[in-house]
């Protein structure tokens, strides 16, 4: 199961956080800080997996991350997830974002936070991987967007 998904930039500012297991507010911030601390000091040429860290779940949890330009995408998972599988899931997620925002960048995440969340909801639901098929995800998001547009038109 995925315990948390964190996206933060190179300075450790959170851009999107999603916890699938309950942590208190200050604990969440602490987890973000610790994770950033762990991840940021690693070179780009080392592996994308990190074990240990004491905050979430103890020894039965792993950090799997990818670093894109200014952003870190970190998934905290327990031992029931496949490492490489999650790594590619991150890739799928980012590619989907790219498709939806047309060349996604950090600012998109800031100004369209809700949309990012909606996309994420189609990929991961309640800690379980729901959909790994990019086209399917995009189709779902499109459907919702269309609805949004039609509603706006009605108002006008």
């Amino acid at each position: 199961m995925i315990k948390a998904i964190l996206i933060f930039n190179n300075h450790g500012k959170p851009r999107l956080i999603r916890f699938y297991q309950y942590f208190a507010e200050d604990m969440q911030q602490q987890i973000i800080r610790e994770t950033f601390h762990l991840v940021s000091k690693r070179d780009d040429n080392v592996c994308n997996f990190l074990e240990g860290g004491s905050l979430i779940g103890g020894s039965d949890y792993k950090l799997i991350y990818r670093h894109y330009a200014t952003l870190y995408f970190v998934f905290c998972v327990d031992s029931s997830e496949s490492e490489l599988g999650i790594l590619d899931l991150i890739q799928v997620f980012v590619e989907t974002l790219d498709k939806c925002f047309e060349n996604v960048c950090e600012l998109d995440l800031i100004f369209h936070m809700d949309k990012v969340h909606y996309i994420l909801q189609e990929v991961v639901m309640g800690g379980m991987v729901l959909e790994t098929n990019m086209n399917e995800i995009v189709a779902q998001v499109e459907l919702q967007n269309r609805m949004e547009k039609s509603e706006v038109n009605q108002v006008i």
Binding site: R18, G52, S82, D88, I110, D114, M128, V129, N133
Partner: protein
């Protein structure tokens, strides 16, 4: 509002408190249109956790949206349900979510399946009834729905037994996936549905674990997927990795293993760092089954040890830890310590340091055989050195167990006394060296260990002046960085250092007697008295001997005599707190219900209502005197323990005997290189052209020594069961280990007792005491003559059907009416011959005649079946005329029983059970438990609830104990396990399985009975019946 909500989410993400918007998020979800709803739901799922009270406000909205025709609304509702819904709200939405499983849209079905999976994780028993629907989801025509149902199965199959039959389906699915039967949409980098494959492989490996026949089904498909996954992309490696793991998990097949091993090779040798990591993980997993594989990749492993990546290094050490054996342990531990010194992640340190300690303790006298005779003590020094490193690096991060284990090892020693003393001697020496150096940076727990060892074993070392030891320890006391707990350790160490040096000690005691810390002050006082009073010193060694020679008696049996005396003097027997609690509850229950009403008639024969001590009057006088005596006794014994037990070794008063051991001054640094070289010689070094690689080669050979063919046996042995740890003397070592285990066992027993409470409940509920039956059996002569009473009979049977339905059906079989027409009542004793064939062989109680009148006579008999109690009612016709129909109405007079038949509330039943226990309506629920004496002994220790009582001894025959026990056995369905001398052990169990063990000892004219059971009320209950049975006898 939408915008504002999004901004509130952003603030929350950055860590600012925006709790004032929570209620608005809910409002938005409740009232808005679809768009507002979407934001509202998102905000709710981000803001609120499962326990938040505002969630209650959302239930209705979610219910409404689940029923909505708008696809998106349903989706949103399902998402939020899966995200935040707590356990107690699941029943509200469960039926609706269940309905969604047959929704025409597959996205809804898929989300519904995942929501149900989430429910399963939170509350498995609430979704038990829909397992069949999961099965339907598995065979759904949409692959997406099928894929999400795999999540559930992966979880369910962790207990694989009931799902073996699904293996075929999973194999078929995997075959179809591999064959490209899925829509092209599911391809990812031209690999068909990789995530699905990964899930399936995991499921298969769980299913095939240790099961040959199931494994055979999947060999083919595994082979296929190994072969298919050749393309060079990350995701194919993910599949391969799962595949390899599956191959090694299921029942082995040589061909597949070989292929898998080759795959691992590809992983490990890959330049891609992620794959290397996975390769190492796979190796770590595989070496448990096949250690030689590590041998093949030894050079790679050595390279990984020096890798710049922290994670890789860690994983490599993990791998090394798995292949450790007696010959390479020194090198591996050295590597681990090197890593630890350069590491600053707290979690990793804790994790690894534990492993180092484990290794060191596993091989404390580690020595290759060829060095054994030459330099035995060098290896002791290795152990001590390693532990020193562990303590100084791990410091206060260490688990409390590690220092405790170490000290236990030192204190208990092994078979050979000489070795022990050398070990201790070396420890003392090395600590003295450490203490002479700079001590302020040492962790507290290391200081504690050192002071303990010095206090205990400093006398072994003759060459060192005691004054010096005392001086060093005193120095420590003066340091500011030393915590008060450590000070206490040091002081008690000082107390142990034997004779002389009164002046130093007095100085010290003087300076500490004004300390702020009361514990320290007290110890200083004790220290002063000890050092001044030579008589006290003389006394100590004697006391030590008795402490050490006696075994730790957890049952405190040495107090038995005292207790029985006190009981005889009229003291109230001790009741454990839970019992007292229970009695309080009972009292309450009694207030509600008149006592006599629910009492069985026979209880009146006991004159005292207190079920605890029907044979003993509880007199409060004399109690205070007894308790004072008790506390005095306890006080004196603790004093001895405090002052003495830890202070002296078992030979502490004979220092001159050990002191003959020669002082050891071997430089420890020489140890590791020597072993390395020797090890290298053992394995034939490969020809290696580059001199640079020489070191690595050597390291490799020292690391992998013992993994070759010759000694692979020992390694295999390790993976099955760890090699004999440091052997312990057959002396009780309860001191530190037992606390852990006993806690665990009591834990488990408390859990089991809870379980039994449940089953007990069910087991006990339908029992009927014949005594009650007498009064309740309502036989009306009118009905014998009336015609057309079949209706009546029907209703009666209905009621029985209801009863057994309510009760779960498995516990009671009431045979309502066995009609024997024209049977003379006089031969009631032979009634049992009339039993149906399948019941004839069961043990049964005597047939009791219940009632009779000129036309009919009734009698009943109890049959004991393993899983149930049968109550057989015989109805005999005493007249000459033919009775056409008999209506039997079985009224349960017991008020609670009636109540529980009507509304089956757990709470009431619980109350009911307690009452039943007390009133012993249960009398017939237990069965003999057949165990051997050894099993009995083990079981005895694991049980927690005990009750002691003195009973009357039957003295009419030759062997009073045997007679009594036999009488009990006959009356109460007990099993007499063994009778040894004046003691006898007896066992029985409940229908539901909860055992009760009885230990009987002849104590004068009384029988001291001691009962234990996991069930809190069972001993009392059995005891009560024993008393009754003996009183009747």
């Amino acid at each position: 509002m939408r915008e504002i909500m999004v901004r509130a989410m952003y603030c929350e993400m950055l860590g600012y408190d925006a709790s004032f918007t929570y209620i608005h998020a809910i409002k938005l979800a409740q009232q808005g249109g679809v768009l507002e709803k979407r934001v509202g739901y998102l905000a709710v799922s981000l803001f609120l956790n499962e326990g938040h009270e505002l969630l209650l406000l959302l239930v209705n909205t979610v219910l409404k949206d689940l029923q909505s025709t708008n696809l998106i609304e349903v989706c949103m509702a399902l998402t939020v349900v899966a995200q935040v819904f707590p356990k107690d709200m699941i029943p509200a939405v469960l039926p609706l979510v269940e309905d969604k499983l047959s929704h025409p849209k597959e996205i809804i079905r898929r989300k519904a399946v995942l929501a149900l999976y989430k429910f399963y994780l939170i509350a498995p028993n609430q979704v038990q009834h829909i397992h069949a629907k999961f099965c339907k989801a598995l065979s759904d025509k949409d692959p997406g729905v099928m894929a999400s149902s795999l999540h559930i199965y992966l979880q369910l199959i962790r207990s694989p037994d009931s799902y073996k039959d699904l293996t075929g389906s999973f194999v078929t699915i995997l075959k179809q996936v591999l064959g490209g039967k899925l829509p092209v949409d599911f391809n990812y980098h031209s690999v068909p549905a990789p995530w699905l494959q990964i899930q399936l492989l995991r499921i298969l490996s769980l299913l095939g674990k240790e099961d040959q026949s199931t494994s055979e089904l999947m060999y083919e498909v595994l082979d296929e997927s190994l072969r298919r996954a050749e393309m060079n992309h990350n995701i194919t490696y993910a599949i391969l990795y799962e595949c390899v793991k599956a191959v090694y998990t299921i029942h082995p097949k040589a061909e597949l293993l070989e292929k898998a091993a080759r795959c691992i090779g590809n992983f490990v040798l890959s330049p891609k760092i992620n794959l290397k990591y996975l390769g190492l993980k796979a190796l770590t997993y595989v070496v448990q089954h096949d250690a030689k594989l590590a041998l093949q990749h030894q050079m790679t492993i050595i390279e990984c040890l020096d890798h710049s990546d922290f994670t890789i290094k860690r994983e490599t050490l993990e791998l090394l830890f798995r292949i450790t054996n007696a010959q390479n342990v020194t090198v591996i531990v050295e590597k681990m310590l090197d890593f630890l010194r350069s590491c600053n992640d707290e979690h990793t340190i804790i994790h690894l340091i534990g492993k180092v300690a484990e290794l060191a303790e596993k091989y404390p006298f580690n020595k290759p055989e060829f060095m054994n005779t030459l330099l035995p003590m060098k290896y002791n020094s290795w152990f001590i050195q390693t532990m020193n490193d562990v303590f100084s690096i791990g410091g206060d991060l260490l688990q409390q167990d590690d220092p405790n284990n170490f000290l236990r090892l030192l204190a208990e020693g092994s078979e050979s006394k000489e070795e022990d003393d050398q070990l201790r001697l070396y420890a003392v020496e090395s600590y003295l060296t450490v203490l002479k150096g700079h001590t302020s940076h040492l962790p507290q727990c290391f200081l504690q260990v050192m002071s303990w060892v010095l206090g205990e074993y400093a006398h072994l070392q003759e060459s060192v002046d005691r004054r010096e030891v005392i001086r060093l320890l005193t120095q420590l006391l003066d340091q500011r960085s030393v915590s008060s707990e450590t000070r206490v350790w040091i002081l008690s160490a000082l107390t142990k250092i034997p004779e002389g040096q009164t002046d130093l000690i007095l100085d010290l005691a003087e300076s500490l007697s004004s300390s702020q810390d009361t514990v320290l002050r007290q110890q200083a006082q004790e220290l002063r008295h000890l050092s001044q009073d030579s008589q006290l010193r003389e006394f100590k060694p004697v006391a030590v001997v008795c402490v050490f020679s006696s075994q730790v008696d957890s049952s405190l049996s040495f107090l038995d005599g005292f207790v029985s005396e006190a009981l005889a003097a009229g003291a109230a027997p001790y009741k454990p707190p839970h019992q007292r609690q229970e009695e309080l509850c009972e009292d309450r229950a009694l207030n509600l219900e008149p006592y006599s009403f629910s009492l069985p008639v026979s209880l009146s024969s006991c004159s005292i209502t207190d079920r605890q001590s029907p044979t003993l009057l509880s007199v409060s006088s004399g109690l205070s005197g007894n308790s004072a005596e008790l506390s005095q006794k306890a006080g004196s014994s603790t004093l001895i323990l405090e002052g003495v037990k830890r202070v002296w070794g078992k030979d502490g008063y004979l220092p001159q005997k050990e002191a003959t051991a020669p002082p050891v001054d071997e430089p420890s640094a020489a140890v590791q290189p020597a072993s390395q070289q020797e090890a290298a010689e053992r394995i034939e070094p490969r020809p290696e052209p580059s001199t640079q690689n020489q070191d690595k080669q050597q390291l490799a050979s020292s690391l992998f020594v013992g993994l070759g063919v010759g000694s692979s046996v020992s390694l295999l042995g390790k993976s099955e069961a760890p090699p004999p740890r440091f052997r312990k003397k057959p002396r009780p070592h309860e001191s530190s280990s037992s606390s852990g285990t006993s806690k665990r066992s009591s834990d488990s027993s408390s859990r089991s007792s809870r379980n039994t409470t449940d089953s007990f409940l069910y087991g006990s509920f339908p029992e009927e005491e014949p005594a009650t039956s007498i009064s309740t059996f309502d036989h009306t002569p009118k009905s014998t003559t009336a015609n057309g009473l079949s209706q009546n009979k029907d209703t009666k049977e209905d009621r029985h059907a209801n009863t057994s339905q309510i009760l779960g059906g498995d516990m009671v079989i009431v045979r309502p009416s066995t009609i024997q027409d024209k049977h003379p009542p006089s031969v009631s004793s032979d009634l049992t011959a009339l039993l149906p064939a399948d019941l004839k062989d069961l043990p049964h109680s005597d047939v009791i005649s219940l009632t009779s009148d000129p036309s009919l006579s009734l009698s009943s008999c109890r049959l004991f079946r393993d899983e149930a109690l049968l109550l057989v009612i015989f109805i005999s016709n005493c007249t000459e005329t033919v009775i056409k129909d008999v209506a039997v109405q079985l009224t349960l007079k017991h008020k609670h029983q009636q109540m529980t038949l009507k509304n089956f509330f757990l709470l009431q039943v619980f109350e009911f059970m307690r009452l039943i226990l007390m009133n012993s309506i249960l009398s017939v629920t237990h069965r003999p438990l057949v165990v051997t004496t050894e099993e009995y002994g083990k079981l005895w220790l694991s049980l927690s609830h005990d009750v002691k009582q003195n009973l009357k001894l039957l003295t009419d025959a030759g062997d009073p104990l045997r007679t009594t026990l036999n009488a009990l056995k006959d009356a109460l369905q007990l099993h007499v396990v063994d009778i040894i001398g004046s003691e006898g052990i007896v066992a029985c169990r409940l229908l539901s399985g909860a055992p009760c063990l009885l230990h009987c000892r002849v104590n004068g004219a009384a029988l001291a009975m001691w009962l234990r059971s996991p069930h809190p009320a069972l001993p009392d209950f059995i005891l009560y019946h024993c008393q009754r049975a003996l009183a009747h006898h």
